[in-house]
Symmetry: C2
Subunit: 333 residues, 2 copies
DNA sequence: AGATTTGTGCAAACCGATTTGCATGGTCGG
DNA sequence: CCGACCATGCAAATCGGTTTGCACAAATCT
């Protein structure tokens, strides 16, 4: 008997399958003595309930997915999925302690494989407006929560990234550091973090009565595209003395552009990015960035998703506010 | 009808469940016309076979696990699971393209959650001798392959890390850089990489007719423990002029120890580590390390595991040789 | 023509759990 | 003493697929 089943165990214990099931689930009272005997026997013969059978009956698989909608060109490269994987690490632990397994859906080409996975729900990392991933899950009736709000979808619970506040914080920091003309470089996709960042930038400039210099880079182009855009930007606006580039891959490109134009960072150009991954830390000079508390966000997202799965129409929780990590690139460390 | 089942589809198509099943699996020939009709109808009503039901019948879940047996104290910290997560990122993609999902079992306390997961097999990252994880899977009859051989277990297929060759390469590099008395710091667990490294070190010293200076640090103590051990080591052997510290967390500790003893790296003490993660890159000075080609290893491991699951008693494949990444800490960059 | 093979499809058993409805015996209050 | 109630446990239905054995017709072989 390689894998004892519930029937085997029931026979051995001299009770019915029902009783064994209840002994484990506790959904109905069973005599303590009987219960003890069953559990002991179970340990003895190494009985483990078959998850597939449980799933089939209950409709719960005990599996949640973590998915990224970032294109591969951004996710790849030196920091190799840094943002995504940093979240994954914490989310995996958080899931397991809640008796769920976490499976990974990294950015990739062949997405047909996706519906091969049976999952109870999914966490989406920074989806954008009309993100096909969102529809995909939604249409399959799979509960979704996101890290970073989904633009235009108020029905999807999310863990807030506080991108508006982050942008203000960084912009103020750059100005405090002496910058007077700050530009902004975001991406062409309609991610909520871009929208909020642009809104904050706009409000901030308006407030100070200064012109806005904004450029949007195509995510698919990755670091190289950003470098080109940045080179053009710096040519067109030689008086720019600071740049906020939230996407770390773009910030790498911006750093290169600055270097090739002989604009010293931070002396003649101050730089700041958002995600404080190895790209920011290893840049030359190291980039001022923002600690988003990704581990805390990941835990919140897992809890939120589980609530949503349980039908408690999860209320988007309060997430921790980001914290500035000043480094040489803004000239203040 | 929220989720159409195979019965629904069969009724709609005017055929039996059997025919529908065969139309999709192709395990038996069905009339091309019938087949087309079924598939079209399936797309129309959004039919997806229920994975739990399939799993229950076939015994295959389409899920593989990636597990680490590193204690949390090592895995945590600045590089937050770097080694493990770097493998995870590639393995996830490799799995998905082979129609398997990858779920994560990071190092954690409560390991009871582990048997909550239904999986076809597991990849173990650098297990050690008598690793409880190995037995765990093995006893459950779950196929296992490892990245880095399992000491004392020739029955478990593995992807080789070439630790012997790596050690020779690093030791030679340190000596080429001018070091004459090179020490080695490994860990107390019996990981295969330690065993091979120590063997290479031993052979190398013997070859040159010089004494061996080896210290093993308790993994559970993490970076701090390594710092203390290293401090003691440098006191006892003031003539040491180089140190190979394969575990990156320990290398961080060694760097700190050197600093507090005012031993300049690399001038009076050359350092090298193995895993080229952010710990090595961000150290001051940056540490000479080794590119293990983790992405290639991860792919190989996934393939090997799938072969093993399919009962082809996977032959441990040839894995790429590691490559040295010289940095300031060895005084050669 | 009769026997054999091939193509096509169906009914029913099966995978291993959960859950519902019912049966039994014993205790208790009135 | 009887009905109500509780504690305990069982048989059977169910979840949604896959697989086996068989049936029937048409084609091919002897």
């Amino acid at each position: 008997m390689s894998k004892p089943t519930i029937s085997d165990l029931a026979r051995l214990a001299g009770v019915s399958k029902t009783t064994v099931s209840h002994a484990f689930s506790g959904r109905r009272h069973v005599d303590p003595e009987t219960c003890r005997k069953i559990k002991e026997l179970a340990r003895e013969v190494g009985y483990r309930p078959n998850r597939s059978a449980q799933s089939l009956r209950t409709g719960r698989t005990g599996m949640i997915a973590l998915a990224s909608s970032m294109p591969f060109s951004i996710a790849a490269g030196p920091s190799r999925l840094g943002f995504f994987m940093e979240i994954a690490a914490t989310a995996a632990v958080a899931s397991l302690t809640r008796n769920q397994a976490l499976c990974l859906i990294p950015p990739m080409e062949a997405d047909g494989a996706l519906d091969a996975i049976a999952m109870d729900g999914a966490i989406l990392v920074e989806p954008y407006a009309n993100d096909p991933m969102v529809d995909r899950f939604f249409n399959s009736g799979i509960p979704v929560v996101s890290i970073g709000r989904v633009p235009g979808r108020d029905d999807i619970p999310f863990v807030d990234l506080h991108s508006y506040a982050t942008a203000l914080m960084v912009l103020n920091h750059l100005r405090d550091a002496g910058a007077s003309k700050v530009g902004l470089m975001t991406g062409t996709q309609r991610r909520n973090s871009y929208l909020e960042t642009e809104a904050a930038y706009s409000a901030s400039c308006e407030n100070l009565g200064i012109p806005q210099i904004l450029v949007r880079v195509d995510e698919a182009g990755g670091e190289d595209e950003a470098e080109q855009c940045c080179t053009a930007l710096l040519r067109d606006h030689p008086d720019l003395d600071a740049l906020y580039v939230p996407v770390d891959a773009f910030a790498s490109g911006a750093t290169k552009a600055a270097k090739s134009l002989h604009r010293n960072v931070p002396e003649t150009l101050r730089l700041a990015t958002r995600y404080d991954g190895s790209r920011a830390k290893l840049a030359d000079p190291p980039l001022t960035a923002v600690d988003l508390h990704l581990d805390a966000l990941a835990k919140l997202a897992v809890d939120l998703l589980i609530q949503t799965i349980d039908g408690q129409k999860g209320e988007s929780p309060n997430s921790p506010m980001p914290r500035l990590v000043p480094r040489q690139s803004s000239g203040t460390s």
